[in-house]
């Protein structure tokens, strides 16, 4: 019996070792849970990531050649769009939601604020085909890429096929997005034992675990579920989140719980960018919660924070800023690939 268990253990160990090494060059952080994204269906290679990175930064994806994914998801903002409450698309059109930051997408179960997208691969179809974002059609982008001087050879390198297909296009974009991993904030270093929290940060961590962790669950700082966190509806937008997609009453006002990493870089906050500062966010949680039918039951007991406690909590939240990720040159505009082509 013991022997069997032992064998099971050894086999298990080798399986996990294999699992880890397969995506080796990506360095998935040890203190993170197992990824949600099925990498076996889209194994990562450097060639595929390079192609995805070029596509992400190339305005060829928009109808008039002015907007790239990075226009709304800037690397310096944790791939969000700072200073814009609502995103800006082609012809200066304004969307209805704030562009969320992009990182740790391999752990996310659903995408967009309303969770309407079920897989990272498929997410790019949304901005591409939205008249206010990139104003294109998937078919026309595929034709443009096929006819370009640059892309057939990049697709060849990535997929051993120079014919551009929708599948390969989406898988390459996803491959690049999967490499956007934020796991080197002060918090992570404390977890690894190489740094220590100050007393203030430690108090903040305690308050965080009591009041916030049930939704913004560490170490990703989101459970990636959807919830109603009591924001009053903005009647100029009338955005009901998931309810708008499913038409089910119980889904009304449910929005995806965002990660709290990199808040320094990703303001303004919430799906419509209504808060510019973390102070305003905390004031919302202590005195702005709007009670309605779908409000999360986690707010049954009101959140009470003194002004000192708010300061401590914010000090902790700032330990989640990851400048190594935000300034990582591997994630930036791929000048070597894109400027050679022009």
């Amino acid at each position: 019996m013991n022997k069997k268990l032992y064998i099971l253990f050894v086999v298990g160990f080798f399986c996990t070792a294999f699992y880890g090494s397969k995506f080796g060059f990506l360095d998935f952080p040890e203190h993170f849970p197992i990824v949600v994204y099925n990498l076996e269906k889209n194994p990562l290679t450097q060639e595929k990531i390079n192609l995805g990175r070029a596509l992400f930064y190339d305005p060829i994806l928009s109808k008039d050649g002015t907007i790239s994914c990075a226009s709304c998801h800037s690397p310096y903002n944790g791939f969000a769009h700072t200073d814009h409450e609502l995103s800006h698309g082609i012809n200066d059109q304004i969307g209805t939601r704030n562009a969320p930051p992009l990182f740790n997408l391999a752990w996310q179960k659903s995408f967009n604020w309303d969770g309407a997208i079920n897989h990272l691969d498929m997410q790019a179809l949304a901005p591409l085909n939205d008249a206010r974002e990139m104003g294109e059609t998937t078919d026309s982008v595929i034709v443009k890429l096929q006819n370009s001087a640059l892309y057939p050879s990049l697709f060849m390198a990535a997929f051993r096929d120079s014919i551009v297909t929708g599948q390969h296009f989406l898988q390459a974009l996803a491959a690049f997005e999967l490499t956007l991993i934020s796991a080197n904030a002060k918090y992570d270093k404390v977890k690894k034992g190489t740094e220590e929290f100050t007393i203030q940060e430690f108090n903040g961590y305690d308050l965080f675990q009591k009041n916030c962790n049930s939704c913004h669950t560490e170490p990703l700082f989101s459970s990636y579920e959807l919830a109603n966190n009591g924001l009053p509806i903005d009647t100029t937008l009338n955005d009901y989140g998931k309810g708008q997609i499913t038409g089910v009453k119980a889904d009304s006002l449910l929005f995806k719980i965002p990660s709290l990493r990199n808040l320094k870089f990703t303001h303004p906050y919430m799906h419509d960018g209504r808060f510019k500062r973390l102070n305003e966010v905390l004031n919302h949680y202590t005195k702005g919660i709007q009670h309605n039918k779908t409000l999360s039951e986690k707010f049954k007991n009101p959140i009470v924070l003194s002004s000192n406690e708010k300061t401590d909590l914010i000090a902790f939240l700032l330990t989640l800023n990851d400048s190594e990720f935000v300034f990582n040159p591997d994630n930036k505009y791929p000048r070597d690939i894109l400027s050679n082509a022009k």
Partner: protein
Amino acid sequence: MKQFFLFTFLFFTYSICAQQGISQVKFNVTVDEKPLELGKSYELLENEDSITFDVLRFYISDLQFIHNEEVVNKSKKKHILIDLEKPESLQIAINEYAGNFDKIRFTFGIDSLTNVSGAMGGDLDPTNGMYWTWQSGYINFKLEGRAKKCPARKNEFTFHLGGYQAPNLVAQQVELNINKAEKGFEITLPIDKLLSQINLTDTYRIMSPNHEAVEMSHLISSMFLVENL
């Protein structure tokens, strides 16, 4: 010499068997019992309307041959996009098969698991125009056209049926009994029958997973017929 006869005998039996085997299943889409032509204006008596079909595409998945409730053969591809603009897509390749079967089974649409499995190629490539963009999910059935009685802009009707999450599970199982298949058979979808069962003056647009999509998909799946040749 004996060996030679045995050999020729075996060879002939083999080739007869091979000829009897089937290697494809043909689908038809008909109006007034004739193959549908896209872009042609039809005067449909039951509807008292003139109707033109511009786009008709749908998915068939997991096509199986059944004998005594056991699966004895299946299609080569798991998911097949039938597109009236591409007549060759109406011929579905199956594994060569010469045995008995009494039933054909297939899914009209795309199963839920495939719907959540990321980007796929071939018949499932999102550039086939059979994938929603503002929310995830395949469009199982797409019918677009024009009818004089249809009150929408340019008299257009648009049916995009899909949905992979309860309660709006749109994919349907279809089972068809095959009685005398010796001379072959074809599967027919008489699309005019669909239009005679809906009122285009008030049902002319379905474009998201909802109760109407489930109902219409159910209706269509009950309309497939087997025609012996």
